[in-house]
């Protein structure tokens, strides 16, 4: 029975006026929330809304600055994850707390408070995982497991504690659509057992599909509590984001130009024991085209980006061509000089250095392609700091980057603003080719829509854009053609309009057609994949 059906029922978890301050910044501001027993409750909000902070307080990782938490009607203080577990709260974080070098059983043992023997833990974990439809081998090393399998460990870990409430933080962001379906079945099973689920997500379709009630957060405050099945995605989005976010506009009819980037039969062995080998990857991207490479994390996206960017050149020069030139062996600056731009997945420690100022971060990507503007003195390569700074200002204005001060440290910017700067850094050059890996991961909705529009506009202006992304919604918004990467192989590209979510899901799972390379030029008959 849900709360709305029986007004006399005591909610399992209640939160009253819960607040968390970091200095003077209120990550959570007077939040009220009720979860009934046997209820799947959604916690909605965009990145930065305060969902993670709220949930960390419920799990004892953070302490509230003010407010009350009530468990089964009685006020409680949750001072540590151990305390939360004792109450009956289990949590599956978005970022897994796993130990690569240890086995599944050892990982599970570490999250249990009591000193049960390892062999008993192995047995219980194996049987429980089977029962819930998430099978695991207790002796496997985590390093060898896929992302989906790793999530199972986290879930089994939580379930072994016999929790009354399970909190899941963005669980489907790392799953294929089929794996997500399997997860939902598990959740329904838990609900049937009388357990409650707090489901954190920003994916509205999912929430409407499986959740009984939803609480919406924005800027740390509750902006709505409703039954998601009775709402539309638009109304939920409005609660999440406030003013309507600009919709992304795309011109479907523009013709495509010459081939700007061509990959032929690219194979790259894995560089480290935990990496993915690329196998026979081929693709062609034309001017004006946005090719999206869809795939769940861990299937070779990073490795593909590394090969395309030239950070890790490949043996065969001909395997990659930019604007007709063979660049397989050329390093990144050589490719930049040919007119290519690159945006890696990691903002911190790859695309930018958080301890450096924004202007220094500009130089990171532009010192060679813009040698004449930014460097002087020939061999000495003396940096023209004023030229770099004025370019930085220009980019920040163009992309509406919110920051404190004229040239602050990159680390002081929010994720969305830093990402806008990083993308803007490349757009500023009007690159003929742009390769982006996860353009809007961890970015707030406003910045995300701006970035996506910028990518579309760039393609419209005549560039070839490759977008590697795990976000299928995003892909459908901006892609001309979609290919799927799975276990280091790339599928044939298909026009975005001809693909369904289901088909992509199957392709992600590896059930895709074999890829044949055209020996001679163009017209290879498109495989019949109409819906």
């Amino acid at each position: 029975m849900t709360l709305s059906e029986d007004p006399a029922a005591v909610p399992l978890l209640s939160v009253r006026g819960l607040t968390k301050l970091f200095g003077s910044f209120a990550a959570c501001d007077a939040i009220d929330l009720d979860i009934a027993p046997g209820e799947i409750h959604a916690l909605l909000g965009e990145n930065g809304a305060g969902k993670s902070t709220l949930v960390k307080m419920l799990f004892g990782v953070l302490q509230p600055s003010a407010g009350q938490i009530l468990w089964e009607g009685a006020p409680v203080t949750i001072s540590s994850p151990g305390g939360a577990r004792q109450l009956g709260v289990g949590m599956v974080f978005q970022h897994f707390s796993l130990f690569e070098a240890l086995t599944v059983a050892e990982n599970i043992a570490l999250s249990l408070d009591t000193g049960i023997s390892l062999s008993r833990i192995s047995e219980e974990a194996a049987s429980l995982s089977r029962d819930y439809g998430l099978p695991l081998d207790p002796k496997a090393h985590v390093a060898d497991l896929s992302v989906g399998e790793r999530q199972r460990i986290e879930i089994v870990r939580a379930l072994l504690q016999n929790p009354k409430l399970i909190i899941l933080d963005e669980p489907t962001s790392v799953l294929t659509p089929q794996e997500a379906d399997r997860l939902f079945e598990t959740l329904f099973k838990l609900k049937a057992e009388g357990r409650s689920v707090l489901y954190i997500s920003h994916r509205l379709e999912e929430v409407r599909r499986i959740c009984d009630r939803a609480t919406v957060l924005r800027h740390g405050r509750v902006t709505g509590a409703c039954d998601p099945k009775l709402e539309t995605p638009a109304s939920l989005a409005r609660m999440m984001v406030g003013s309507d976010v600009a919709e992304v506009h795309r011109d479907e009819s523009a013709p495509l130009g010459d081939i700007r980037i061509e990959v032929s039969n690219l194979s790259v062995p894995a560089r480290t024991p935990f990496a993915v080998s690329l196998r026979n990857i081929s693709m062609k991207v034309r001017a004006g085209e946005v090719l999206a490479v869809a795939g769940v994390a861990g299937n070779g996206q990073g490795e593909l980006f590394d090969a395309l960017s030239g950070e890790y050149p490949v043996d065969e020069d001909e395997a990659i061509r930019i604007r007709g030139k063979a660049v397989g062996r050329t390093r990144i600056n050589g490719r930049r000089v040919l007119g290519a731009g690159f945006v890696p997945e990691e903002r911190n420690g790859h695309a930018a250095v958080s301890a450096m100022a924004l202007s220094d971060n500009l130089l990171l990507a532009r010192s060679q392609p813009d040698k004449r503007a930014f460097l002087a003195g020939g061999v000495a390569s003396i940096i023209r700091h004023d030229a770099v700074r004025s370019a930085t200002r220009r980019i920040c204005e163009a992309m509406d980057v919110r920051k404190s001060g004229d040239d602050p440290l990159a680390g002081s910017l929010s994720g969305g603003n830093l990402q806008k700067f990083i993308v803007g850094r490349e757009l500023d050059r009007q690159p003929a080719v742009l390769v982006v890996n996860q353009p809007t991961w961890g970015v707030d909705a406003g910045a995300a829509s701006r970035i996506r529009q910028a990518l579309i506009d760039l393609a419209k202006a005549g560039s070839a854009v490759v977008v590697i992304s795990q976000d299928l919604d995003e892909i459908f918004e901006i892609a001309t053609n979609i290919a799927v990467i799975s276990e280091g192989r790339l599928s044939e590209p298909h026009p975005a309009g001809t693909l369904t979510l289901e088909r992509i899901g199957l392709m992600m799972g590896g059930i895709h057609e074999s890829h044949s390379i055209p020996e001679r030029a163009p017209s290879m008959p498109e495989s019949t994949h109409a819906r």
Binding site: S97, L98, L102, L110
Partner: protein
């Protein structure tokens, strides 16, 4: 003759094994403490001084352990609480240790040492050959063997050891699971310090029962190399430690042998062998990047600041 050589090898290898085992535990918890040389020499001077002042080498052993442990606290405070750079702090510990021990030990230079007497184990010591070699040794040798067995069990069979390995693999995940990373690391660092101190005590109470400034002569650094060589596994530390001890003793005997045979090999060349051997061993063990990546504790040397 062979037995005599074996006994000297045991004496030479024991401090290496003990110091390396201590550092192994520290590194398994993700902390790189380059100050082993400093902690070892502090242990040596504390042990010698205590033995001189009380007349008992056993008090000396205790003083060495405590001295090394307390000295390591300095390192722990800087790197774990103040999150200072671990490499620089370890070096600072070594420089300070060498200087401070020289200062403290000044009064004891030249004094005759009090040697730790062997503890003969009844019955077992009557076994021919092995009885004399293995069961008529000093206390510190027995401790070294106990440490190998104990640490191996602790790391791989106990829950506390599992926690240490977890912290060494991923301190952020360990923290998220509620493990007190800082407190565990403090304990691991102090254990490493205590072991280094014990190794130092062995030097000034057994190996050369005397106090000489800088008497550790780079053994702390060799112990660090040993940990890498052993891929952070206790039994391999034992093997590697004895290998190095053998090289060290071997070169001494080679010097005498060469002299007797009239072959001119400069003594400096032979003295340099242990250091050269360390380099060679490091090359062999490190050059396969793949295995190095798999064996090295992933969070080794990385600073950790818990979020509250």
């Amino acid at each position: 003759m062979f037995e005599a050589i074996l006994l000297t090898v045991i004496t030479a290898s024991t401090p290496l094994v003990i110091a390396a085992l201590g550092e192994l535990v520290t590194e398994r918890a993700g902390v790189l403490n380059l100050g082993v040389e400093g902690m070892m020499i502090m242990g040596a001077v504390c042990a010698f001084a205590a033995a001189q002042l009380t007349g008992s080498p056993y008090i000396g052993i205790l003083a060495g352990i405590v001295g090394g442990g307390l000295f390591s606290l300095l390192f722990g405070f800087l790197t774990l609480t103040l999150v200072a750079n671990q490499v620089a702090t370890g070096l600072a510990l070594t420089i300070l240790g060498l200087g401070l021990s020289g200062q403290l030990g000044e009064a004891f230079v030249g004094r005759p040492g009090i040697k730790l007497q062997p503890v003969v184990i009844p019955l077992l010591s009557d076994i021919p050959f092995f009885g004399r070699v293995l069961f008529s040794q000093d206390l510190i040798f027995y401790l070294s063997v106990a440490l190998v067995i104990g640490i191996n069990w602790f790391l791989f069979k106990s829950r506390a050891g599992l926690k240490i390995r977890a912290i060494g693999d991923n301190h952020a995940s360990a923290h998220a699971l509620g493990i007190d990373v800082i407190r565990t690391r403090y304990l691991a660092v102090m254990f490493g310090g205590a072991c280094a101190g014990l190794a130092g005590a062995q030097l000034s109470l057994v190996y050369t029962p005397q106090w000489v400034e800088n008497m550790s002569a780079g053994r702390g650094w060799i112990a660090l190399a040993l940990v890498v060589f052993a891929s952070w596994r206790p039994w391999r530390v034992l093997a590697g430690g004895y290998l190095f001890g053998a090289v060290g003793i071997g070169q001494l005997h080679a010097q005498i042998l060469a002299q007797n045979l009239g072959i001119v090999i400069p003594s400096q060349f032979l003295s340099a062998l242990p250091y050269a051997a360390t380099i060679v061993v490091l090359i062999i063990i490190s050059h396969n990047r793949r295995t190095t990546l798999i064996n090295t504790p992933a969070s080794l040397g990385k600073p950790f600041v818990p979020d509250r």
